[in-house]
């Protein structure tokens, strides 16, 4: 409990500092959200202002990548939620008089997360693939740009490194998904 309190409060303190430096940041960068690069060129400020700059630059690409996935996850979650809400144990829980919020979140939602976990794990590799385009659009210099320029220059080393790293990440995320199954459904032993 004390750890939770500490995390919560340090978060609040951080937020407070960021909010305090927001006017100074605005005076340095009058239009806070720009579309090119991971940081504004020639931006000079203290630690908080530079962090705010990075955060605002991150906003648009993150939103874009998120929007791409949201539709898929929504449909998968809906389908598996519909499946689990018609199960017998939901009716049993309701018959026992468990309140509706517990029924939805503890009984139905938790069980419907299992197929969604699989999709999220598989989607991770696809998200890295999708970030190739997002990096090109927003002018970031990340993994995707490394891959694209390497392939454009017929330079095999960056391309192989990209494939190796994203492949390893995909395998890792599938492993995490397998571990999460056991957390979500204690009947599954790892």
């Amino acid at each position: 409990m004390s750890v939770l309190t500490a995390a919560l409060y340090s978060g609040l303190v951080l937020l407070d500092h960021f909010m305090r430096h927001w006017p100074g940041f605005l005076s340095l960068k009058p239009r806070p959200i720009s579309t090119i690069g991971s940081s504004s060129p020639n931006f000079d400020g203290n630690f908080w202002e530079v962090s705010l700059d990075h955060g605002t630059q991150l906003l648009l690409p993150t939103t874009l990548l998120m929007v791409v996935s949201v539709a898929t996850y929504t449909r998968y979650t809906r389908a598996s939620m519909l499946e689990s809400i018609n199960q017998d144990y939901i009716r049993t829980a309701r018959a026992k008089g468990v309140n509706e919020r517990t029924v939805i979140f503890k009984h139905a939602f938790r069980n419907s997360m299992i197929p969604v976990t699989t999709i999220v794990a598989f989607d991770f590799a696809g998200l890295i693939g999708g970030s190739v385009i997002v990096e090109r659009v927003f002018g970031w210099r990340g993994m995707g740009e490394l891959f694209a320029t390497g392939l454009g220059n017929s330079d095999p080393a960056p391309v192989m490194a990209f494939v190796l790293v994203t492949g390893a990440a995909a395998v890792l995320f599938n492993l995490i998904a397998d571990l999460l199954y056991a957390v979500l459904d204690p009947r599954i032993r790892v």
Partner: protein, 382 residues
């Protein structure tokens, strides 16, 4: 025999009951073959039919307007020929008559943008259908072999599939796409190579289908009569899994359009001076604020093709899968597909509350006349 006797006091002999059922069935409706049933269900799916009309007209217009080779269609302008730029390349549609000289405007070099977009649509469609064809062939082959033979064949093929899945699709496709640039054959080569990347989903689906089919009695009977495995797979298993295959091939077309678009956008797909929808967007992405039509028209065609192919796939899935019989109330309507199913249900509830019976709605169109659904939660469209 009289139809209105009391069933409790005078139970009919079983044979008579069966005859009665048969007579009723024969009287009520004529019977249909499987193909007829699928066709009827597909044509009852309004969004799919509309999408099919849209897609067919796009195909016809794209291939006849400037000709399949880019020369000599009814449009009369080539996508390579440069003309003097008129009025900053603004589209003349609806301003200068209905279409005008350049309905979609002109690009930097004064090339007719309508011809460019049509050429792009041609190339994208060729890639899409080529990818769907080759990925379906590879996927069905791998899946059927793995599912039928089990053992080390299955381990080998499925590990191969996993290896392809684990690498991001776009990365693998970009490598194959940049490799295809040095090969002869142009767009079709690119399509066939891209098919070597996107077959994994089909392979897994067909394997699952074949795994369940190989336990069926007719497969055991064919094997007992000494049929060759190739014959069992081709004659017994694939016809029974054709629904899954067709539906996924349709969705593969939509995915391939988007894949080709992203590849050309990154510069690893189709190369200039050839045109493709993704390439047009890539070349003109900086013109978005100043000359947005260079961006809108190819984008519009990408969306139109991908959406209509997806709707056709939805319609085919509903038509072919007999397990989800969606007739009458359950049939997907235009509104339902567009995401307004809730509003129709709400109106229906409102009608029920104000005392109207479902029959009162019979003057409205079909989307309104949903009628009471016995279990609305089963009505998911996945």
């Amino acid at each position: 025999m009289s139809m209105n006797r009391d069933p409790q006091n005078d139970p009919a002999p079983a044979a008579d009951l069966a005859e009665m059922e048969d007579a009723r069935l024969a009287q009520r409706e004529k019977s249909y073959s499987q193909g007829q049933l699928v066709r009827r269900r597909f044509f009852a799916h309004k969004p799919a039919v509309i999408s099919m009309i849209v897609l067919l007209s796009i195909i016809v217009v794209a291939f006849t307007s400037i000709g399949p080779t880019g020369e000599g269609g009814w449009w009369g302008k080539s996508f390579l020929q440069t003309n003097p730029v008129v009025d900053g390349g603004r589209p003349t549609m609806f301003r200068d008559g209905f279409l005008g000289e350049y309905p979609f405007g002109q690009d930097n070099n004064g090339r007719d943008y309508f011809a460019l977009v049509m050429r792009g649509a041609q190339q994208s469609l060729i890639v899409a259908f080529g990818v769907a064809l080759s990925s379906t062939v590879i996927g069905v082959l791998v899946g059927a072999l793995a599912g039928y033979f089990r053992g080390w064949v299955e381990s080998l093929l499925m590990r191969l599939t996993d290896t392809v899945i684990v690498v991001p699709l776009l990365a693998l496709a970009a490598v194959f796409g940049s490799y295809a640039q040095n090969l002869p054959g142009g767009t079709l080569t690119l399509a066939l190579l891209l098919g070597c990347v996107t077959w994994t989903g089909m392979a897994r689906l067909v394997r699952a289908e074949v795994l369940s089919l190989r336990e069926k009695e007719y497969v055991a009977a064919a094997a007992a009569m000494g049929a060759h495995p190739a014959r069992i797979i081709v004659k017994h298993m694939l016809p029974n899994s054709v629904g899954v295959i067709i539906v996924n091939a349709t969705f593969a077309i939509a995915a391939a359009i988007l894949l080709e678009t992203s590849l050309s956008f990154l510069g690893f797909g189709i190369q200039p001076p050839e045109s493709s929808l993704g390439l047009l967007i890539d070349l003109n992405q900086n013109a978005f604020t100043t000359r947005p039509w260079l961006f809108w028209f190819p984008g519009l065609f990408i969306i139109a093709i991908a959406l209509s192919v997806n709707f056709i796939g939805d319609g085919l899935r509903d038509a072919i899968d007999p397990r989800q019989k969606r007739t009458g109330d359950k049939r997907p309507t235009l509104r339902g597909v567009l995401g307004f199913r809730g509003s129709a249900t709400a109106q229906q509830r409102l009608a029920a509350r104000t005392g109207g019976t479902p029959d009162d709605d019979s003057t409205h169109d079909e989307t309104l006349n949903l009628g009471p659904t016995p279990n609305p939660q089963k009505d998911d469209d996945r």
